[in-house]
């Protein structure tokens, strides 16, 4: 494989018992490239994300990230390799505040005493404020518990968590699903910033306008399979809808569908 590929999956497959949620996904992402994954509900998009982020172990198939074949044993493994993810479920702890959540699982500490290491609250708070500033995410009070925040604010926290840390690959699973107009624009700006700095992105979204605004390429999932791989310049929304609904299937995927 060539050096400009950051992520490649070969025959990536996940079965939940009899449910074939993901079947033989061959996917390539180049450095600096922004790709959207589209598809109907239950098409297997989130399942695909869970396999490449180590949250679940694939039934079969290969993941090659940054030139090395990987078998992530857990999400922290994937994160240490350089993959930052906004999960569809957000993965926030409701009873903790914003800095706690940003640094959950990678806390800054003062002394290393194993599990009893002392937390460096001040450093985490300052880093949180810097991160929020950089990403232009506005949270009224970072000491507020996630439980007391609106759906959109929660989403902002989850996105800020990803954007605060430098990474080799960012994945966002429906990051603007619960957001208002202004907040959606904010998130889209974060994504544009990533594009400018050359960080690759996988964006899962049902929003056609957003996808056509932001990404270079669109990959369509249908019933657990990849059915199309479309360059933005060579396609249009009607075309993409045709692939999503099954009216059309990409030439190279005929046998798969």
């Amino acid at each position: 494989m060539s050096d400009d590929v950051i992520l490649e999956t070969r025959d990536l497959t996940k079965h939940y018992g009899g449910v074939h949620a993901l079947e033989g996904a061959n996917f390539i992402l180049r450095r600096g490239e922004h790709v959207a994954i589209m598809g109907d509900n239950g098409a297997g998009k989130s399942t695909f994300v869970r396999q490449i982020t180590g949250v679940e172990q694939p039934t079969r198939g290969q993941i090659i990230f940054d030139g090395i074949p990987r078998q992530f044993s857990g999400p922290i493994d994937a994160r240490e390799a350089g993959i930052e993810t906004v999960f569809q479920t957000l993965a926030l702890a409701d009873d903790l505040d914003v800095p706690d959540n940003l640094f959950l699982g990678r806390e800054k500490t003062l002394f290393n005493l194993g599990p009893f290491s002392i937390l460096d609250y001040r450093a985490m708070r300052e880093a949180t404020l810097r991160g929020l500033e950089r990403t232009a995410v506005k949270i009224p009070n970072i000491r507020n518990k996630i439980r007391n925040m609106s759906g959109g604010q929660r989403q902002c926290v989850a996105i800020a968590r990803t954007a605060t840390f430098h990474s080799k690959l960012t994945i966002m699973d429906e990051p603007t699903a619960a957001l208002g107009v202004q907040e959606t624009a904010q998130v889209e700006n974060i994504i544009r910033t990533l594009k400018e700095t050359g960080e690759p992105l996988i964006l899962i979204s049902h929003n056609m306008r957003q996808v056509f605004d932001l990404v270079d390429r669109i990959v369509v999932f249908r019933r657990g399979r990849i059915v199309a791989n479309l360059n933005k310049q060579e396609t249009d929304p009607q075309d993409v809808v045709a692939y999503i609904t099954g009216a059309k299937t990409g030439a190279e995927y005929q046998d798969a569908a």
Binding site: L90, A93, G105, R106, E107
Partner: protein, 359 residues
Amino acid sequence: MSETTHGTGGLTFDASRRVWPNELNIFGALVLIVLIFEVLGALLMGQSFLFDTQGRFGSIFNEQRLYIIILQVSIVGIIAIGVTQVIISGGIDLSSGSVVGATAMIAMSFAQVAEVNGHPNPKAVFGPAFMDLPVIVPVVVGLACGLVAGLINGLLIAYTRIPPFIATLGMMVTARGVAKWWSKGQPISFPTDSYAMIGNGLGGWMPVFIFVGLAILFQLILKYTVYGKHTYAIGSNEDAARMSGIKVARHKVLVYVIAGMLAALAALVLSSKNLTAQAGMGVMYELDAIAMAVIGGVSLSGGRGSVVGTVLGALIFGVIISGFTFLRLDAYYQEMVKGAIIVGAVVLDQYRQRFASQR
């Protein structure tokens, strides 16, 4: 003028407004309950509950009653500290009372003196080689008992996905069995002087000293260490904790091990204070400890509460029990009211949860 910022949705937030800590509410409840007993005491008994109205003590307080209340809650309070972190992590520990029983029996049998008044120890469990041992032996043996019980609880819960309620219920029955089997139901008595110090040292204040020391330590651990943060995170949203890279299973094992060791420590203090160990020691302590935590604002659904809250909960618990004795009410009523308090505290917690998001 207060500093305001604009957040998502253009909402204004007043940054100077502090959040009212729940612990203050619980402290308020404690004061209220004391006042109720003072009023009832004045009306029904013609005397004060906590204050010295007859000039029997050097201070304005009824020192004897205060001492009894504090001593009473100290031993179960040590257990409640461990239970607090278990509940915050989203679990429950029903085994602590039985672990107290088993640990007391086993530890005491390594703490016996060889001779009582010139005669061989009539309650001897082992031969002379195991008598008059330095105090460190029963202490280490006792803590090891707690560690093993906690380890089994933790491993079952973390790796076999048995619900904590069931796993610790099993340990509750098993450990009680061990306590009875250990000396075939016979009490074990006559500990060494140094062992007796654990529960009687510092002029009888040793249990209180240990309880308060541990409470401070664990309040700090839960608030200021990675261990504490992860405990809250797991109880708050276990999936999120896992996705954030927390080693959830390993952490849970540690939580239950610590709870087991604290129960064991309570057993050392209790058996030392009583100078004897019996198979029935610690019966129902697990429920008292859970009650203290829940009264203290620890949420049974996990993620919320603090050791400070539990200490206040323990005091409320002690005041109510002592208040009933003060009013010369039957022990039967105590049990009934205890039950009502536990249910009441859980109802209150549900209520708090429902309205927390609307504040």
